[in-house]
């Protein structure tokens, strides 16, 4: 990583005045925020609010038009994603469909030219972490949605990243299992102790899982704070509205089940 230090910061990840447009669409408009080491943060907003773009820029999959991205006090704008020390869990997991679960997890380590013995130990360790010791030889299409997510999580963690990024980690999962997986993921991240950012459009999910919630709307950061802060003291009309609408929808869903 680059050694250049830009200003004092206690944050592990910091975005400074990020601007990004896609074909004239303003995806990020002066986005600034910081996330401390060890924090589990949620980027919350409706679809098209620019939350995934932010995540992809931190990962190096997209480049900002202007502004600085800092990871561990170094500016990483020009550093390829593979050198930023991150793990990324894609929305549909993007598991390598022609490789077994074990090979999926081993891929990142093989690319780093780790020794065979080392890879084997690490894969076994991770399979145990996600409680799938016996399923290492399976292929992704032989797994359930929840199992796939666990494999994607293990694969992202294999090279020991300092920062874990998750794009809508629960979107592709059955509503029934979702709650269970949320708790599981929260526990896992705590156990591993990796700084994490996940993207979601579901306010309940953000409130339940995250330490820190960043609400985005139309490419801007509307508000950031603890879940309690956001719920109790929404700073803008949009936040108040978004949280309320979501709550209303949750209520309606509960009533729908009764009928």
């Amino acid at each position: 990583m680059e050694e250049k230090v830009i200003g004092e910061t206690t944050m592990y990840v910091e975005m400074r005045h990020i601007m990004k447009t896609f074909d004239g669409f303003q995806a990020s408009n002066d986005v600034s925020f910081g996330i401390e080491r060890g924090c589990l943060a949620a980027l919350l907003g409706p679809s098209g609010s620019g939350k995934t773009t932010i995540l992809r820029m931190i990962a190096g999959l997209d480049k900002p038009d202007s502004g600085d991205i800092l990871i561990n006090e170094a500016r990483v704008n020009d550093l390829p994603g593979s050198k930023r020390g991150i793990g990324f869990v894609f929305q549909n997991y993007a598991l390598f469909r022609y490789m077994t679960v074990a090979d999926n997890i081993a891929f990142g380590l093989e690319v780093q030219k780790k020794s065979k013995a080392e890879i084997k130990t690490r894969v076994e360790e991770l399979l145990e972490l996600i409680s799938m010791q016996d399923l290492g030889k399976r292929y992704p299409h032989q797994l359930s949605g929840g199992q796939r997510q666990r494999v994607a999580f293990a694969r992202a963690l294999a090279p020991n990243p300092q920062l874990l990024l998750l794009d809508e980690p629960f979107a592709a999962i059955d509503a029934k299992v979702r709650r269970e997986l949320r708790t599981w993921l929260r526990e896992m991240i705590e156990r591993v102790g990796v700084t994490s950012i996940f993207v979601t459009h579901d306010q309940e999910e953000a409130m339940e899982v995250a330490d820190l919630v960043i609400v985005t709307n139309q490419g801007r950061v509307e508000q950031m704070g603890t879940p309690d802060d956001i719920c109790m003291h929404p700073e803008t009309e949009f936040v108040a509205d978004f949280i309320d609408t979501a709550r209303f929808e949750a209520l309606r869903a509960v009533e729908g089940k009764k009928q």
């Binding site: 999959l61 894609f90 929305q91 469909r97 690319v111």
Partner: protein
């Protein structure tokens, strides 16, 4: 929950990747309740296939062996036939090699990158499908021939393309170049970029990504495209006929050789040589079915 609501949930593309909604479309249709129509349609299809395909095939084999085995052998092992076979194989192998490389590159480019003119490029690749092969041959004559745009340049450097082997190969490449691309493009398009992005984020280089992620995904489609391309290349007549000049033993391919023999009223030899093409076609058909079966 009501039945209607359930159906609506099912209709939604839950994963957002487009795959689930497509799967719905290709479910087998429900059996029609009128069996008469089914049997009439089967009868018509079989009759059509018999008249258009089976009957001509039988005619080829019967006529080829009409004057006995010795005559057949003589026609097949004739010096010019062997030379024509060699040229056909050379043109086919070259065309398939070139078009495989070109097809993989272009399909990869058009499915994984977005740029201005992407659609135009995709349509341009299809031109050989929509253009008459005779026109294609003529275009090459006008471009590379003595009176053509590049005629003087080629003459000055002593390069012969028209009425020579390079022309035959060029025409074959031209006529067959969309096949591999057409097979690969939809497969690569459906794969999306996620897996490759995931691998790149872990630090994998371009070649590793292709070898371990892209290639396993496209290998059956690639093989299928190669087989179709081979079949078309071997049978090509129109474009090659215009550009080759029909020089026996030099620029004659198998299909051209068949025509020459036939025009010389050497019917048995014409059919004997045809039977080589038929044999190659059957081999390709078997290979094609094997690949299709494996693909599933």
């Amino acid at each position: 929950m009501s039945e209607k609501k359930k159906q609506r949930m099912y209709d939604q593309d839950v994963s957002g990747d487009g795959i689930h909604s497509i799967q719905k479309v290709i479910e087998p249709p429900k059996e029609s309740s009128r069996p008469v129509i089914k049997y009439v349609l089967i009868g018509v299809s079989v009759l059509f296939l018999f008249v258009m395909l089976i009957l001509p095939l039988i005619v080829v084999v019967v006529n080829a062996l009409g004057d006995g085995w010795a005559a057949y052998q003589e026609a097949v092992l004739d010096e010019y036939t062997v030379k024509a076979l060699m040229l056909t194989l050379l043109a086919t192998v070259t065309a398939v090699a070139v078009n495989t490389i070109f097809g993989v590159f272009s399909a990869y480019l058009l499915s994984k990158f977005y740029f201005r003119g992407r659609q135009v490029l995709a349509s341009l690749i299809d031109i050989p499908f929509s253009i008459s092969p005779v026109i294609a041959g003529l275009v090459f004559i006008l471009t590379f021939g003595n009176i053509g745009w590049m005629g003087d340049f080629l003459k000055a450097h002593d390069i012969k393309i028209v009425f020579a082997v390079p022309g035959v190969i060029l025409a074959t490449i031209f006529v067959t170049f969309p096949f591999v691309f057409r097979e690969l493009f939809p497969v690569l398009n459906a794969q999306g970029k996620d897996e490759e992005e995931a691998a790149a984020l872990m630090g994998a280089g371009g070649f590793t990504i292709f070898r371990r992620i892209t290639f396993p995904h496209i290998k059956w489609a690639l093989l299928y495209g190669v087989i179709l391309c081979t079949a078309r290349a071997m049978g090509e007549f129109g474009a090659v006929s215009v550009i080759s000049g029909h020089l026996r033993g030099k620029t004659n391919t198998l299909p051209l050789h068949v025509e020459i023999l036939y025009n010389e009223f050497n019917t048995t030899a014409a059919f004997a040589v045809s039977s080589i093409l038929v044999l190659l076609a059957v081999l390709i058909l078997i290979a094609r079915n094997l690949v299709e079966w494996k693909k599933k």
